[in-house]
């Protein structure tokens, strides 16, 4: 890129001040440069613009950027590398450095930044227990975010293979350090949440210096982990390496291998558990069978007892009936005997009476004889009748010369009436 010098134009061209400043600004701001220095006079204006001076022992550079471009927290005294382009702020004609990106340099700066970010995120509640999600005990899909060159990658896969089966592991390679690392990690976390919702995500890398681990301490990555609906297991380096991501993650693992151990169960343990369940099920079944048998026995006994009761009852009943029958039979016998007896006596009595009655009848017969109308005939009386046969009782019943019949004990005569004597009888004739 040619740098125009005033000589090219000679002394012909005359600029206005603004023109000239703009011209110089254009020249200066063609490229990006990296400048390292110490931050001083750090100021935030109206919550939108940031100004500070970058200085070293000899000189200083006035820097300018917007708050949104600030990817790391910086304060006075920090050693940083400012990436940007020089230029001229035209209204004031002032030489300035427009910062595009800031990188922290040196342990000191990194540690300061770490503390600042930690305090800030803690205050916002990103580290709070209540937001942490418990991953499923048995996942079927796992998202793995790490560098494929890292030992962490092989460690995780190996442990997963040892411990569990039937997994689908979605591996997304990212840079785990360097400038592009935070952005890549946040993009991948977002991608998993949006397009491949696995059961759990493992975000991991091996150990390293504070500078190496920088992206795992960055605000952007922490916020992305916090925002993830999928539970995130973080595993950075070794036990003693703690990054801010570890505070935000749903579960913190001490090493990549540990992350795999947390993510899936141990197949041997589960196998043992299944065998125990098998035994238990058998025991339970046997218990139930035994209980059922007991119940059946119990019911059978009760049934037997009840049947027995019935049997006894009926035996008693039949016994009582037999007794009753016997009594009845005896009574019947007695009754029959009495009846026979009574008959005998009755017959005797009757016979006795009969003789008496016979006598009586005989007497009556005799009486009857006497009372027979013809009996008086034996005594000399006679019966006189009209020729019609009607018995004449009184003299008034006849007329003179009537023909009458008179019956005697033996025979009868027919006569004619000569005289009638109204009162008196034959013995005395009265005229």
């Amino acid at each position: 890129m040619d740098i125009l010098t005033p000589n090219d134009f000679g002394s012909e061209r005359v600029y206005s001040v603004a023109e000239f400043n703009r011209f110089v600004d254009e020249i200066l701001s063609q490229d990006l440069y990296r400048v390292r220095g110490e931050v001083s006079g750090y100021k935030v204006i109206q919550n939108r613009w940031v100004t500070f001076d970058l200085k070293d022992e000899e000189s200083k550079l006035s820097c300018f950027l917007s708050v949104y471009q600030l990817s790391e927290p910086i304060t006075d005294g920090m050693e940083i590398i400012a990436v940007g382009s020089p230029g001229v702020y035209v209204p004031f004609g002032r030489y300035t450095f427009r910062v595009k990106n800031v990188q922290l340099v040196g342990e000191g700066a990194l540690r300061r930044a770490f503390e600042l970010t930690k305090r800030k995120l803690a205050a916002e509640g990103l580290f709070d227990e209540q937001f942490k999600k418990q991953p499923l005990r048995i996942p079927e899909t796992i998202g793995l975010i790490t560098s494929e060159d890292a030992a962490a990658y092989t460690d995780v896969l190996r442990i997963l293979k040892n411990r569990w089966s039937q997994l689908t592991i979605y591996f997304y390679h990212v840079q785990v350090q360097g400038e592009r690392s935070p952005l890549q990690i946040t993009e991948v976390l977002d991608w998993f949440n949006r397009y491949q919702p696995v059961d759990v995500i493992i975000l991991t890398r091996g150990g390293g210096s504070l500078e190496d681990l920088q992206s795992f301490n960055s605000e952007a990555v922490c916020r992305a982990v916090f925002a993830s609906r999928i539970p995130v297991i973080s595993a950075v380096g070794h036990e003693r390496d703690v990054t801010l991501v570890d505070f935000v993650a749903d579960v913190r693992a001490s090493t990549p291998s540990n992350a795999a151990e947390i993510a899936v169960p141990d197949r041997r343990e589960v196998l043992e558990h299944v065998r125990v369940l098998e035994r238990d099920m058998l025991v339970f079944l046997q218990k139930h069978t035994e209980e059922a048998k007991q119940q059946a026995r119990h019911i059978l006994n009760r049934l037997r007892f009840a049947m027995n009761q019935r049997l006894v009852y009926f035996q008693e009943l039949s016994h009582r009936i037999a007794v009753s029958v016997r009594i009845l039979a005896r009574r019947l016998e007695f009754f029959q005997t009495s009846l026979a007896d009574w008959r005998k006596r009755s017959v005797r009595a009757f016979q006795g009476k009969y003789e008496v009655v016979q006598e009586h009848v005989h007497t009556l017969n005799k009486h009857l004889e006497y009372l027979h109308p013809k009996f008086p005939l034996r005594r000399g009386f006679s019966i006189t009748r009209t020729s019609a046969g009607k018995v004449i009782r009184s003299a008034r019943e006849v007329r003179i010369s009537q023909e009458i019949m008179t019956e005697f004990q033996h025979g009868a005569v027919q006569s004619r009436v000569r005289k009638i004597f109204k009162n008196g009888h034959v013995g005395h004739q009265k005229e």
Partner: protein
């Protein structure tokens, strides 16, 4: 429900729930026998699966957007 169609996780959960059912007091003996057999089948299936080594690794090939 064929055990073949269930995932490992589902099979395990089903197995645990069957064991719980068998433990409970209110169990019909005939159903209990059925459940036991089902549980045993499941257990064997799960054991078999647990002994396989068949994790799949799918590498995502998407590229990242360049920084501005």
């Amino acid at each position: 429900m064929s055990e073949k169609k269930m995932t490992l996780r589902e099979s395990l959960h089903k197995l645990e729930s069957i064991a719980e059912e068998l433990e409970s007091d209110t169990l019909d003996l005939e159903k209990g026998l059925e459940k036991y057999e089902q549980g045993l089948r499941l257990a064997k299936e799960v054991e078999k699966r647990l002994q396989t080594v068949d994790n799949r690794v799918k590498k995502i090939q998407k590229s990242f957007e360049q920084e501005a």
